[in-house]
Symmetry: C2
Subunit: 397 residues, 2 copies
Amino acid sequence: MNHPHENHTPQGVTAAAGFRATGITAGLKASGTPDLALVVNDGPLKNAAAVFTTNRVAAAPIHWSRKVIADGRAEAVILNSGGANACTGVEGYANTQATAEATAGALGVDAADLLVCSTGLIGEQLPMDKIQAGITAACAALQAGAGHDGGADAATAIMTTDSVSKQAGFAATGYLIGGMAKGAGMLAPGLATMLVVITTDAELEAAELDAALRAATRVSFDRADSDGCMSTNDTVILMASGASGVRPDVTEFTEGLTGLCTDLARQLIADAEGAAHDISIRAFNAASEDDAEEVSRAVARSNLFKAAIFGQDPNWGRVLSAVGTTTAAFDPDELDVAINGIQVCRSGCIGDDRSLVDLSGRDVLVEINLHAGDAEATIWTNDLTHDYVHENSAYSS
Amino acid sequence: MNHPHENHTPQGVTAAAGFRATGITAGLKASGTPDLALVVNDGPLKNAAAVFTTNRVAAAPIHWSRKVIADGRAEAVILNSGGANACTGVEGYANTQATAEATAGALGVDAADLLVCSTGLIGEQLPMDKIQAGITAACAALQAGAGHDGGADAATAIMTTDSVSKQAGFAATGYLIGGMAKGAGMLAPGLATMLVVITTDAELEAAELDAALRAATRVSFDRADSDGCMSTNDTVILMASGASGVRPDVTEFTEGLTGLCTDLARQLIADAEGAAHDISIRAFNAASEDDAEEVSRAVARSNLFKAAIFGQDPNWGRVLSAVGTTTAAFDPDELDVAINGIQVCRSGCIGDDRSLVDLSGRDVLVEINLHAGDAEATIWTNDLTHDYVHENSAYSS
């Protein structure tokens, strides 16, 4: 399920001026669908920021890209699906470096300014002959002058188990932000691999981009928790070309970026593997935002709760069981829980008739009143379904 | 699947001298199967110890039994299936107290020495008329002089979604330990509710029982982690009658108790809801036992890993992804992983051919070499299956 965009804000990584992109088929995936994407910043600015998975078992492209972004500058991002290049040792790192060098060579830029992202199965070496040929094809496509409207192709080429491609856009006064995403998960932790590239033609320094990106991801991608599993490859990249000539108000930019990241995060959750319900878990009246997030995340990770929602069973006892495992401030005898507006638990005890709860729709809202303060946080997750088990047991991914 | 007992050690809560037990049908469960169990200690000693769920949302019988056990003395345990009596407020606590008082009255003992356990759906009041009638029937059955071989009936009456009843026994020089268990889970955390009652005719003080029980549960029930969910009702009780007249070596007793708890814990995992594989995850060469346990538990809680095992896919990348989320001491480039004896990951990189791994049997052993010390720990878990989703979505439990 995709979120409809009723306005006409340009979407994707080529929405903002100064960027070209393409997505081509290098033959990495058995399906024969596009699997190699390239996003190039034509400037004049080449400022960039990125956040990466906190998984200590990080893929080769994570190690490479961390070095690239250290100086706040990037010329381009090359992304492949069809292989994560994780747990691939020295050979894997050499393959990431070769990918960056081949792309940089074809573009006429420094390989040290080339970000690399990979997604797919862990523990297999990439077929570098196909990658090299794909890079040549992708760069040739861009150098012919095309690619100013290639964002959608790039968004398609990074898909793995995604059923739809994901793009978003935000238009401010005089500048644009656009982005693409793949996967169904988050930064820390993440289901499958999440890769996100966001571009803007605003004039911002690297440090400003970094601060805005961290503020935005903290309350968007970090709040999406589909199955509690953290990927080795999660990456969110933000690049600024400055091509609009507009220096934005940093607060407005951060708010716009946060909205765009939230849009993409919710698209990821809506397309999570095998999900039948999109569940928002909101803890409020918490002593702190951290408490609210801990409580919401504990519920989001309860397999018993998630299976109950799949079965359209408003089993609030499983919500309280999960809340009870946290260190958040609350009195068990004061907890209130509402599911889709029905107050099924009041003061830690039986509330309104649970049979009044309607779980037949796709969206589920669980609201937990901790009666301990005025902070809140929402985690977005999915139910645990037969299709989740099927997709994650029948295929290596 | 039950573990075969090839020897003829007496099993269950009436194996040891000085105990009587029964299990009857009070009509709490729609199925009409037995649902009320009573275990009585005839002494001469009435020493006891217990460990309870650490869930902060604890059921009424947990609050009651914590008070009862505080003085290290217990006359009997009354256990019901068919209702957890959790999130039931003041009325729920009064119902637990009434249960203890009715049982104590019929037995002619002090209600303050009556332990109470409940298991079933959270958030519903118990039908106290049925409970009261059931207590009368259970006590009458015991007072007729029967119950010395009632352990098996008691083990049956505490079952909920269990497919088989669970008993175990340990015979030492001159004394016995016996026990029963229900559920498929653990103390912290626990799937469904785990209730365990263990009896011994050894002569031991309450403080000795408490120390032995905590030592035993730490490496048995606490290492069983079927689905990462912690119950509101988990309880493990140990009672000593001293009827053998034998004062045991405390070390020998603790080892025997640990073996018995491990036996019961593995029976629980083997009967976990919907499981198709019993998985042992052993982390070794760890810097500390805590590190080893953290690593093993992280893998045991990865839905992606557990779904892969269900699909007979030796997806070692999902093992490493989970290990990478921990704080344990290790170098990602030194991790080795073997699945059922095949070294699929060597030095953090691709090892032997994963297609050599045979996952067609029920038992799976994952071994993770952290190369950081000489400590180890094993967590027992299950795979994530269609039947798990079905059992936990189709029925409230």
